[in-house]
Amino acid sequence: MIAVFWLFVYLIHIAVLPLLFIGLVRWLKARLQGRQGPSLYQPFWDFAKMLGKGETISETATGAFRIAPLASLASVATVSLMIPWAGVPSPIAGDLVLAVYLLAAGKFCTSLAALDTGSSFGAIGASREAAISIQAEPALLLGLGALAVHAHDSRFAAFLTPSGGEHIVILAVLAGAAAWMCAMAELSRMPIDDPTTHLELTMVHEAMILENSGRNLALIEYTVALKTTLLLGLVVQIVLLAVPLRSIAVHYIVSILLLAATAAGLAISETVMVKLSWRRVPNMLSYAIGASALACLLVAMRG
């Protein structure tokens, strides 16, 4: 009975938090830039609107284009059941390698769909996304790996449970920083990509989904929102390793507050930061790899 209750709580988080998070980021961004901006709940209205709209599909598109958004959502949703990103125990005790490569599989589907339409922007976006992913992936895997080795367990539920231990503060900061940078790269956010731009030639993620419309687009937008909260929630949980909280209720409340703080972080970075030149993206990701490598070194040296 208790397990069913927690599953129910978990599903509510998955359903509500992602779009609310996106709405919060946009609301904060508008305020920071001196604009009134749309309502906090606008992403929900957009989602409902897109669900009710018809689709325009490229003549060259095959079934892959139709199925990809669903496949991508399935992969991200599965991972979201593995990582306790909202501070609530996750229903599945997922393995970190499985999670990282499930996300990669989802991205593979999206790229395939982008190539499928025959649009040159889709192909550019897919190629850029792949180029960024192969740099972000080792950083994320190494950083999480260091935590797993530290906890002697590669399941998220296990290594994200605060257990203290030597150098846990430094470890959490290094792995958290690496995870944040990887999240920005994976989510195509600043300083890698400006999610609000209308310039096709500069886009990464947005270029891939230019051909999507209606229900297909609604699914993609929700998937991106879920992935955003999921990855930033993961960063929050890594950081919380450094400050073990006794009660599960306090842990939950602090997790949600910190998640809101990451929304503020996104809003600030997208107001005051300058987008990196494409040639500089590897530089930033090398910092992520560097932080992860240091975390590994720390765990390895301690034995």
């Binding site: 600043m190 609000t196 030639l201 005051v272 300058v274 987008k275």
Partner: protein, 508 residues
Amino acid sequence: MSDESMPAIERKTYPIDHLANKLATGIGAGRRLGLMTARKSGDGDPLVLVALLIDLVTGGLRLIEAPMRPGDNTYSSVTARVPQAHWFERSIRDFFGLTPAGHPRLKSVLLHEAWPQGFYPLAATSPQAPLRDTQARAYDFLQVKGEGVYEIPVGPIHAGIIEPGHFRFSCLGETIQNLEIRLGYQHRGIEERLQRTPWRRIPPFAEAISGDTTVGNALAHALAIEQLTGVAVPPAAAALRAAALEIERIASHIGDLGGLAGDIGFLGPAALFARQRGRALGLGERLTGSRFQSAFIRPGGVTRPLSEEMRRSILADVIAFAADFDEARRLLTDEPGAVERMENVGVVRPSLARDFGLVGPAGRASGQGYDVRAALRQPPYDVLDWTPAGSETGDVLARAMIRIQEVATSFDLLHQLLSTPLVDFEIMTTLPDTLPANAVGAGVVEAWRGELIHLAITDANGGLLRYAVKDPSFNNWTGLAIAARLELVADFPLCNKSFGLSYSGNDL
């Protein structure tokens, strides 16, 4: 006050074979090719090639005319010796059907490919309606060949609410090997329309040529008509016109600076500049009664006086605004990340800028000191205290810095123009009822994008034989194609925004 009217144009006729030589010598002697076009002549006579040369030292204008040989629609191209004529000659072929023999890359520049072969709108006595079932014109894009080279077609319809134009990128990986810009989607037949409009009714059409250059076009038209009719403008009207022109420059430059900030993802300053652009348009509304300042400048003067109370209020806001702008632009220029992002991107070397005759901020960023306000010593700029901006580096940063300097200069010019009371002044001179026969008038204006020219030529009855318009974008589109070469694909929007060119002004 007749000494304040524009000096007359020196008009000379040469045989067609001497045209290239005359233009090349003129340019070698410190003149610039303002525009080159063609015109009809008396009944049955062949078409005449027309070129306007501007003396950059004395500010004098010279119109060179060269009649075509009867029954021969080809002439020897001047582009090989005068590179900046390359688009002019393509445009002459599109509109008049005259072929420049030996042009290095002859193809359509403006006409739509769906229009029939042999349709030359400005050459025929009465233009025929385009028929879609005739053989269409082909457009021959430059092909880049080689392993791994691919093409990205962008537009003509873009993702933002902007004007239509087609960009064909030939890329290798993330690097642009060649950019071909194809325009003409905004062609509305303006020149032909203006030629058959009674000249008194032209101003509303003339100022609508490019919506963001209302003042520039209205002023260029007014200057052309005033030179034709020999009318002098009251000094107060000249001052108010200059104030309107500088307000338009401030609003447009600030708008484009916001666009540049947006293109590098620097959204805080982008939002700030967008607000400040609105404030600049508000200044225009107070001066002229309309945010884009339409129906204000007319041949003979301006239509609306400026009350003493309004002058004081605009002046006070100009002073406060200048300080606010300086604060806002520091967000951009004091942020190392933003500066680095614009540095060494989209470079146009001064030698190329000179050869292709780039104008305005883009030209001045690449070492071309030409500024119409200074070169032609136009009143009231000849008595104001100011210097044109300049730079040599020719990158996106240089073009941004030139715009920043020019906004500051424009605030200063406004300050000087509005700091003395304009009481009991004339703002309009009466024009004669008819235009003089066989005359020519040119209006050359430093619009915010650069040199804008309206050229009016009358026939033996005082009717308009030719009304030619040359937008600064017509010179500068080539500069954008040069700037994009070997740049990252992802940096093209930044290069594009740093030029901020007009499609409608170019396509006419």
